[in-house]
Subunit: 349 residues, 2 copies
């Protein structure tokens, strides 16, 4: 008899507040209150309304609600065109955590295509705001000199950045403590007997990169180990890593890389030099990409707590939407070192 899972659909048509009200014998306002301020209703009425709500399986019309309350309950998130070859193992997991936690707070994620760094990038954000399509933003892949945070801040738009380098003093952010991660990697390598530990990273200037390099440097100093000439930078993952590693070979017994991609370039370079990663030279990556577990030797890596990052972003953004003038919140989460074959063997003297 019933065509759908919902009950009581004799004559179909939209289930509106008015319909529920009619069925419960009250006014629409009362039904609205049952949903939004149940404490205002007399217990008996509340019960009756709730039953009608239930029987009709009512769901509020978002556009109507949004029009009246001037809040879309949507959060904007711009997806960038992943540059081919550059892996961003981040987004997938992060997006799920983000939308899952947002869902629980009654919000949803609105995806839009954004051209990172394009001149008219702000235009895309502005448009969404003027259209009242979103209540706030989550920014990802922020970079030094990123204009978005300052711009949003000035306009008084709620937002959270995943990445602290652009919004350091401008607003709320959540980030992963890269320095803590690379330091942990050094600690583990030292414990395994390594003393000459090189760092393979990107050219100075990027927030994330310098952060990760800084952690390595700090840990090396803490262990009274030499740092000179052990830091190598490269942009292209394959070629540059190769020449870079060549410079280090013989000088180091372990390499901490700023990303799994660089670590892979390192594997390659070592093999080309006739060395065996993991056996001759220990390697630790960053990001714990899916491949890390499967490589031979499997790659030790620092796993970012993306679930937590996502949840934190939601939590903070919700707070900011509720109270735009509250003190900004900053959250720094530590990555977890996953030790695998590439760094677990004892070092060779």
């Amino acid at each position: 008899m019933a065509r759908t899972t919902s009950a009581g659909g004799r004559k179909s048509g939209p289930v509106t507040l008015a319909l529920v009200a009619q069925r419960a014998g009250v006014s629409t306002q009362t039904v609205s209150n049952a949903l939004n301020s149940p404490e205002l209703l007399a217990p008996a009425t509340l019960k009756r309304v709730r039953q009608a709500l239930d029987e009709l399986d009512y769901r509020p019309h978002q556009a109507a609600r949004s029009l009246r309350t001037r809040s879309s309950r949507l959060i904007g998130y711009g997806v960038q065109p992943t540059p081919p070859g550059l892996s961003t193992p981040v987004s997938d997991h992060f997006l799920h955590a983000l939308s899952d936690s947002a869902d629980q707070a009654g919000y949803r994620i609105l995806l839009f295509a954004s051209l990172l760094g394009a001149d008219d990038e702000a235009e895309r954000y502005d448009e969404l705001l003027r259209e009242h399509s979103v209540d706030g933003f989550v920014l990802n892949n922020t970079y030094r000199g990123d204009k978005r945070p300052a711009w949003l801040h000035k306009k008084g738009v709620p937002f959270v950045a995943f990445g602290r380098w652009s919004a350091k003093d401008t607003g709320d952010w959540v980030d992963v403590d890269g320095a803590h991660g690379t330091a942990a990697a050094v600690d583990q390598l030292v414990a395994a007997g390594h003393r000459k530990i090189a760092f393979l990273g990107w050219p100075r200037g990027s927030g994330v990169g310098d952060d990760r390099a800084g952690g390595w440097r700090e840990a090396m100093r803490r262990h009274d180990l030499p740092v000179r000439d052990l830091r190598v930078s490269s942009v292209d993952e394959v070629d540059a890593a190769r020449t870079a590693v060549a410079r280090v070979v013989g000088r180091a017994t372990a390499v901490v890389a700023a990303s799994d991609t660089l670590a892979l370039g390192c594997y390659r370079a070592l093999r080309d030099a006739g060395l065996s990663p993991g056996r001759d030279v220990a390697v630790v990556g960053f990001d714990d990409s899916p491949a890390a577990r499967l490589l031979s030797p499997s790659l030790s890596s620092l796993r970012q707590p993306l679930d937590e990052v996502g949840r934190a972003c939601t939590r903070i953004l919700m707070a900011r939407i509720k109270d735009p003038d509250a003190a900004p919140e900053r959250v720094l989460l530590a990555p977890e070192l996953i030790v695998r074959e590439s760094s677990s063997a004892e070092s060779h003297p």
Copy 2:
């Protein structure tokens, strides 16, 4: 003077149709027509209205529009919690292509968390529909026995599936021709001199897996090559691939894998057996994950045209929304074989 980039903001406040109308000296309806049916206006009026529109930098209030037109201009897309370890290099690129092309069609993507295969999964979709939050859906990660397509079809909800195995006869879909891909891999290996080419895939039963296996089989037969005992299945990427490859070692000089992950497991297994991937045994993967390019030897792989898939999804969904009763559309796109070191060397007899 001007605080924002927009011009003429003396007294701020929301820029509505009414405001534009007042400035242009016409009725709101006329402004609305200027936007939605400009051909109805007299040229002179149109010009005047457009100027006002421009000066005020008007953007329609989406909720208001949505309420009246009963269309949210949003497309639902459920993100699944990526099972840890299982890589889905798909989503990132695909999502960008999808939201980019949707944007161009005046639509945006609404992300929501969905628990794949959960009992109440349909509930999540139903809720979005009842709320009028979306006009349609893009399904991803469909699987055999997936109930969503049939359910959506029955309700008359516009949708497109990325993956043909669940919606074969139920609705529109876009998919990548896995068989074509593996066949191309076989062709290339044969051209390089290989005759004993094994297939490493998942257990029978999954649409994608059987499709890819089918392409290998077809190509082998076409080349008059033996197929018997050369097909190996495994679920876990590392361990099972290892034992599976062990069974093939000596029998085959090349392996076509159903995924890069399996190919990686294969690398590992070969090394454990004292063999060198690429040199002793050629390997071809599927998906062209970021790691493929960086492995040593770099991994030949089949790249899915995710940009095109995304664009096709949008195009088809738009057509379906416009005309719910049109004949269903199905698009099958060929993956591109990227030949790298792992399969380019001549085979050893």
